[in-house]
């Protein structure tokens, strides 16, 4: 479904990623983990078209999409959320999700200027769809609130609903549980599994080991811009290189508990 081959990028002489390759199968939950600065978000930014890699290729559904602009990738069925929330704070929660319906709406500006009846009908359909998605992520009663007034955990789920509104085939989640308390994390865990159950391929970057080990089908481990391991939770947990370079003694204990 989604593949990256031999991706490298450097910022001012620092090799943020060198020769990273991965392949995500349709319908799986694929996690990318690694210590801070391992290059996880950089890899996400390349896959989602925000950065162009210095070398390497990305493919989506077998087509080469290297360096394609994000809005064109969205058309091909790839959307994402952000670690540092990128909420449209001047809009209501529902309107945030409505923006996600953009590609499924008629985009004739002349019709919009004069609000032809078709635009009104479409606005209604878009709103219904947005409310449905907000209910899906558990934000049913927050639709009309200004986005800025939502609690942190809700904003994380709002971003997921917004990305889902594009009807992606591949959804990239950049630390969906960052800064969330255990209850919120459990809710997000639940949402991610529901998304995968709908047939959407999910790729996530996450620090919460418990969450990653629990829901991921396969895990890709980065350290200092290099791949050090890939496999199922059990394989990664048992991998010497991972334990040594990433999990350490503390992680070992946590992993044992998870």
């Amino acid at each position: 479904m989604l593949a990256a081959s031999n991706i490298s990028i450097s910022f001012g002489g620092l090799n943020a990623l060198s020769n990273v390759s991965l392949k995500v199968e349709t319908g799986e939950i694929f996690a990318i983990i690694g210590p801070n600065g391992a290059g996880k978000t950089t890899l996400f930014n390349i896959i989602s078209g925000l950065y162009a890699p210095s070398s390497g290729r990305t493919t989506l559904n077998g087509e080469d999409v290297t360096g394609l602009a994000p809005h064109l990738l969205a058309r091909r069925g790839l959307s994402r959320t952000f670690q540092n929330l990128q909420i449209f704070f001047r809009m209501s929660a529902a309107e945030n999700v409505m923006v996600g319906r953009h590609l499924h709406e008629q985009r004739n500006v002349i019709a919009h200027l004069f609000t032809l009846p078709s635009v009104l009908k479409q606005n209604r359909v878009t709103r219904e769809k947005a409310e449905e998605l907000m209910a899906f992520v558990g934000l049913r009663d927050m639709t009309n609130r200004p986005a800025g007034t939502l609690p942190y955990g809700a904003l994380r789920r709002l971003e997921i609903a917004r990305a889902l509104a594009t009807e992606p085939k591949v959804l990239l989640l950049d630390e969906p549980a960052a800064g969330c308390n255990p209850v919120e994390t459990a809710e997000i865990d639940d949402v991610i599994q529901k998304i995968a159950a709908r047939g959407v391929t999910v790729v996530l970057v996450e620090h919460d080991m418990k969450l990653v080990m629990k829901i991921s089908h396969r895990i890709h481990v980065l350290d200092q811009g290099r791949t050090i391991a890939e496999g199922t939770a059990a394989e990664v947990r048992a991998n010497e290189a991972v334990i040594e370079a990433y999990l350490g003694k503390h992680g070992q204990r946590e992993a044992a508990r998870a």
């Binding site: 989602s48 078209g49 925000l50 602009a69 994000p70 809005h71 990738l73 969205a74 058309r75 959307s79 994402r80 952000f82 990128q86 909420i87 449209f88 704070f89 001047r90 809009m91 309107e95 409505m98 923006v99 996600g100 319906r101 953009h102 590609l103 709406e105 008629q106 985009r107 500006v109 019709a111 919009h112 200027l113 004069f114 609000t115 635009v119 479409q122 606005n123 878009t126 917004r162 990305a163 509104a165 594009t166």
Partner: protein, 311 residues
């Protein structure tokens, strides 16, 4: 009540009522003249607000588009024998086209850089009007023939009040339509996070251009009206200070509020008239009032009042 405040259409209805009832309370033609000028400026500011208040892109050059509209209705009938109303349409289209061509490259710039680039565009257009004296009358400007539509002559404050007032209501209605549409949501999304808008499939460059072109057309129509109403156009019409005036009106009244832009326009047209009582200190008083508004109502007059009213 809250629902009503949130609806952009409530503003359009309110505005229509004000425009319809205002002549009943204005005591003389002088006031009607001032009201007509307020409507004309407000029209330009409604356009600027779509660009600045909703899409979040600054322009310090919109007087250039205002000037294109103004000179179109001067040059068209005088030199080319084109009827004024056709010239007005040509001017609006020309301004839109100019915005389209120039907007592509300069809207890639952000913040201060975009401000300087649009500033340069405005200066350039004003320069052309100053230097092409054969067509424009140079720095002295040129007279503008009266508007005549199918033999019906339009002149005087009363007629211009109604024309500009009705156009303003229509302009506000169109702006409200746009904001409530997918285009409007895309523009507002760009304002808050271009990155997020892009990954959701919004073609950011296209929508910035859409806002730039639409706001240029608003400015050009307003410019044409002012020139036709005044019967004279000079390069000052398209000058830098005029651009600043538009931005000040939009910010003072409240960015992102259609009604705010109109209030801002009214304030900046009316205040200098009122402040003449201070004689030599007129400009000091105006400057102080503007600073006070920005300090105490930083989100602009109308949004700040709406927020207070809600509590």
């Amino acid at each position: 009540m809250r629902r009503l405040l949130d609806s952009p259409y409530a503003v359009v209805v309110l505005l229509a009522l004000i425009v319809a009832l205002l002549p009943l309370i204005l005591p003389s033609l002088f006031y009607l003249r001032v009201a007509a000028i307020v409507c004309i400026f407000a029209l330009a500011v409604v356009g600027i607000n779509l660009l600045m208040g909703f899409a979040g892109q600054v322009s310090l050059g919109h007087a250039g588009f205002f000037g294109i509209g103004a000179y179109a209705v001067a040059i068209g009938p005088t030199h080319l024998g084109i009827p004024s109303w056709v010239s007005l349409i040509i001017g609006a289209v020309a301004a839109g086209l100019m915005a389209f061509l120039v907007g592509r490259p300069i809207l890639r710039l952000r913040g201060h850089y975009l401000a300087v680039a649009t500033l340069g565009l405005g200066l350039l257009i004003a320069m052309v009007f100053t230097n092409e004296a054969g067509w424009t009358g140079g720095p002295d400007g040129m007279p503008v023939p009266r508007l005549e539509v199918f033999g019906f002559r339009v002149f005087g404050p009363r007629m211009w009040y109604w024309i500009s007032g009705v156009t303003l209501v229509i302009g506000a209605w169109i702006a409200a339509n746009l904001i409530a549409s997918p285009t409007g949501r895309a523009l507002r999304a760009i304002h808050d996070s271009e990155t997020a808008a892009r990954v959701l499939g919004v073609d950011v460059a296209r929508y910035k251009l859409v806002a730039f072109v639409i706001s240029a057309v608003y400015a050009a129509i307003a410019g044409a009206y002012l020139a036709l109403f005044d019967g004279l156009v000079t390069p000052i019409t398209a000058g830098f200070l005029r651009s600043i005036e538009f931005v000040t009106m939009a910010v003072l009244g409240g960015l992102g509020s259609i009604f705010g832009g109109i209030v801002g326009a009214a304030l900046l047209v009316l205040l200098p008239q009122v402040l003449t009582v201070f004689h030599d200190y007129e400009h000091i008083a105006l400057g102080l009032i503007m600073m006070m508004v920005m300090i105490f109502l930083p989100s602009g007059i109308v949004p700040a009042l709406v927020a207070r009213f809600r509590r």
